[in-house]
């Protein structure tokens, strides 16, 4: 496979994953704004930070208000991480690597782009927002469905998987990084309504509110949530799960290629560290530090993958 093709698959999937993550952040932010209007502005500000676009937003708007943030995050072309920008990025990369995609995957990706371009053409009102968010979820689910149903499990698939899990790991880590203080026992007021809202938002940002309730019925405390988000082996957006999938994809590629050159080792070591860690240790040694360290290691792995498999254009 061409190095450029591997890079295109990686970035196509990163962008697709990002579009979903952004939609999820908007969803969680919107919910807070509806239920706790007093907390809305703070919440939107932290959504912008989590999405990594606070500066880009500030360059265009003077104040943080729901409607501007929503439109900036969903459809502003000036925002490189808006849903519309990343869907276009995903589609351009798919077009570039079209020979590596099944017809189904290409058509689903192209249709996702056409549909969302139409849906995000004009400003989104609060009334339309739930439908638009549902459409974004549904369109990207169709791409993922086509991928899961029609792609061979070879290097093509695993480079795409790497893109998805590098992006997802980064996204979950950023959510934790922005909200880590909520999860610190010393700063939290257990049982207070403010904290409940914050926890709930964190869980909603990763679509795991219900899952968490099922696993921890009646036992909502910060430590449990931190453990769930960081170490849970079956929650598909936890840091441990993402690290496991990254290492797994690199293992599969190494099997196919008959060896590996650095990235596999880094990913395996990250996976091992998350398998053996426990939440008390993490909190005692500094939650913030731990998350920062995780983000750094993911970036190093990502850069190593790009170099090792000759992504450069």
């Amino acid at each position: 496979m061409l190095g450029k093709t591997a890079g295109g698959l990686f970035w196509m999937q990163r962008y697709l994953e990002r579009s979903e993550n952004i939609a999820r952040l908007v969803d969680a932010g919107f919910r807070i704004a509806l239920t706790r209007s007093a907390a809305a502005e703070d919440e939107w500000a932290s959504v912008l930070i989590t999405a990594g676009v606070r500066r880009a937003y500030a360059a265009r708007y003077d104040k943080v208000d729901g409607s501007s943030v929503i439109n900036f995050l969903l459809r502003d072309k000036a925002n490189p991480s808006s849903v519309m920008s990343v869907i276009e990025g995903a589609r351009n990369n798919a077009r570039r690597v079209r020979t590596a995609l099944t017809r189904e995957v290409w058509e689903a990706t192209n249709e996702c782009w056409m549909t969302l371009k139409e849906a995000l053409r004009g400003p989104i009102s609060d009334n339309d927002l739930p439908d638009v968010l549902a459409l974004i979820r549904q369109q990207s689910a169709q791409v993922r469905g086509a991928q899961s149903g029609t792609m061979m499990r070879n290097d093509i698939y695993f480079f795409a998987q790497l893109g998805a899990f590098v992006e997802r790991a980064d996204s979950t880590a950023r959510i934790l990084d922005v909200k880590y203080y909520v999860l610190l026992p010393s700063l939290s007021y257990v049982g207070s309504s403010l904290d409940n809202v914050q926890w709930e938002t964190i869980l909603r940002s990763v679509s795991a509110y219900r899952a968490f309730r099922w696993i921890n019925p009646g036992e909502t405390n910060p430590r449990n949530i931190a453990r769930f988000m960081i170490l849970d082996q079956v929650m598909p957006r936890s840091l441990a799960f993402c690290a496991g999938r990254m290492a797994g994809a690199l293992e599969a590629i190494a099997r196919e290629y008959g060896g590996s050159d650095g990235s596999l080792e880094l990913a395996c070591s990250l996976r091992r560290d998350l398998e053996t860690a426990n939440i008390d240790m993490i909190v005692d040694n500094g939650l913030h530090q731990f998350i920062q360290d995780f983000i750094k290691r993911t970036n190093v792995i990502s850069a190593q993958i790009e170099q090792e498999f000759r992504f450069y254009r």
């Binding site: 061409l2 450029k4 079209r98 020979t99 056409m114 290629y257 000759r310």
Partner: protein
């Protein structure tokens, strides 16, 4: 609908009776509900859009991706008509390859005085770098798309020999797929000759021209200028269908005397490049130094027998519009036979008498740039305003050698579906020809382009043309 007297209609005779090849189609068509057909036509368009079978139009305000309109009425050619056509095409393609070999070696045709030497010596399409070079397998034009127009039941003219990088074959293939999908019943009634094995044949044909340096199964790649090229869809389509890599210049490098592509596991040598990049951009060390679309040093590898470039550099000298007018002589010179397909009478404006005639008769003629393509920069006299003609006359006088002129041919028509029912529109045909050391293969049919505007003679997709599925009946 009635056929008019001026133009030959391929479906209906002047008395409105149906010509044989169309008889099954017409009885089927008459039994169809027009609403249902329109829905089907819309479905076809959605399908093209979803699959992104698009092309980009250069120089337009909104240079986005556009669809080439597809008309659902097939263009039908009888087996008898096709066998004569294909004999003529084969003869022509054989002569073109012989001409190219000669012109880059002993130049017998120039010595014999059959083609004027200035036409070669002063021609940008002639590449001195190719002199004395033997392309692998002796093949110059692996892929040719000969443009043919029809003016009567047995009257076919070759309009252009596209011997460089002809495009459109993906539309031929997708049009057929679309028709099979929409109207399977039509293919049960009519025995239409298959086109879908073109990519397999293309691969086989390219592999058969692998260079000496190749050991084992040839590694083939399609070289594209990139996703912004107007024919990018076709490049990726062909690579995909052949199971070949789709590469851009920056994926390639010359290593140890081979052209190699950068893969996830290091550099791997290539044997055959089906390039969709023009000669000028192929190698910045040999041709345009500012080109980033090519591969520095590829021409050295080529000359040393390390890679096959399809088509060979320098084939443009054979489809140059000034050379075109000599094709009847060229065919006779190399094959010893009269040309089976006719050439359109051509005035070379470089010659004073011809220029004088052309200037007098601009309103009746089609004038083309010698090196132009895609319908850009041409004048269709009968359709042009006085102002346009005056402006063109000035251009022509300033650089006469840059132009040739031809009579406006009474191009045949084939009906298209309109809101008011069937209506005749002018068409041309581009059959696709593969050449390998094993022989010449012509895909039955080709791409029919149709001028959608009533009365228009310009079929180019960049100028509002559409396409049709083209059938050759198995008889």
């Amino acid at each position: 609908m009635t056929g008019d007297e001026k133009h030959f209609d391929e479906m209906l005779r002047a008395d409105n009776s149906v010509r044989d090849p169309y008889s099954d189609f017409c009885s089927w068509y008459d039994a169809q509900d027009s609403g249902r057909l329109r829905t089907k036509a819309r479905d076809a368009e959605n399908f093209f859009r979803r699959t992104d079978i698009t092309f980009a139009v250069y120089g337009e305000e909104d240079a986005g991706e556009r669809l080439i309109p597809f008309d659902i009425v097939p263009r039908i050619i009888s087996g008898r008509e096709w066998s004569r056509l294909s004999r003529g095409i084969e003869q022509r393609v054989r002569a073109i390859n012989a001409f190219l070999h000669d012109i880059y070696h002993r130049q017998e045709i120039l010595r014999a005085g059959r083609v004027p030497i200035e036409l070669i010596a002063k021609n940008d399409a002639f590449l001195p770098q190719m002199i004395g070079m033997d392309p692998p397998g002796g093949i110059y034009t692996h892929i040719i798309g000969v443009d043919i127009v029809r003016t009567g039941p047995d009257q076919f003219y070759v309009l252009e020999d596209n011997a460089r990088t002809p495009s459109g074959v993906s539309y031929m293939l997708e049009n057929r797929e679309t028709m099979l999908h929409m109207f399977p019943e039509l293919f049960r009634k009519n025995r239409v000759r298959e086109v879908s094995d073109y990519p397999r044949k293309l691969r086989r044909s390219l592999a058969a021209s692998a260079p000496r340096a190749c050991n084992g199964s040839p590694e083939i790649a399609v070289l594209t200028p990139g996703i912004h090229n107007s024919a990018y869809f076709e490049h990726s389509f062909l690579a995909d269908q052949m199971g070949a890599e789709l590469v851009e210049g920056h994926d390639l490098r010359v290593i140890d005397g081979r052209v190699a592509m950068r893969t996830t596991q290091g550099y791997r040598p290539l044997d055959v490049i089906y390039r969709r990049v023009d000669d000028d951009y192929l190698d910045p060390l040999t041709f345009r130094p500012d080109s980033s679309l090519g591969v520095p040093g590829i021409m050295d590898v080529y000359r040393a027998g390390g890679i096959t470039i399809a088509n060979a550099p320098g084939t443009g000298i054979a489809d140059d519009k000034a050379i075109y007018s000599y094709m009847p002589e060229i065919i006779e010179f190399y094959t010893g036979e009269k040309a089976i397909l006719e050439n359109v009478p051509t005035w070379r404006c470089s010659e004073a008498d011809s220029l004088a005639y052309v200037i007098e008769h601009l309103a009746e003629l089609v004038v083309k740039e010698v090196h132009g393509s895609g319908g850009y920069g041409m004048l269709v006299g009968p359709a042009a305003s006085r102002k346009e003609i005056a402006a063109f006359r000035a251009k022509l006088k300033a650089r006469p050698a840059n132009y040739i002129a031809q009579p406006t041919l009474a191009l045949s028509t084939v009906p298209i579906m309109t809101r008011q029912g069937l209506a005749p529109r002018h068409v041309d045909l581009r059959p696709f020809v593969l050449v390998s050391p094993h022989g010449i293969d012509i895909t039955p049919g080709g791409l029919t382009r149709v001028a959608l505007k009533k009365g228009s003679l310009v079929v180019n997709s960049s100028q509002g043309g559409g396409t049709k599925d083209s059938w050759v009946l198995d008889e």
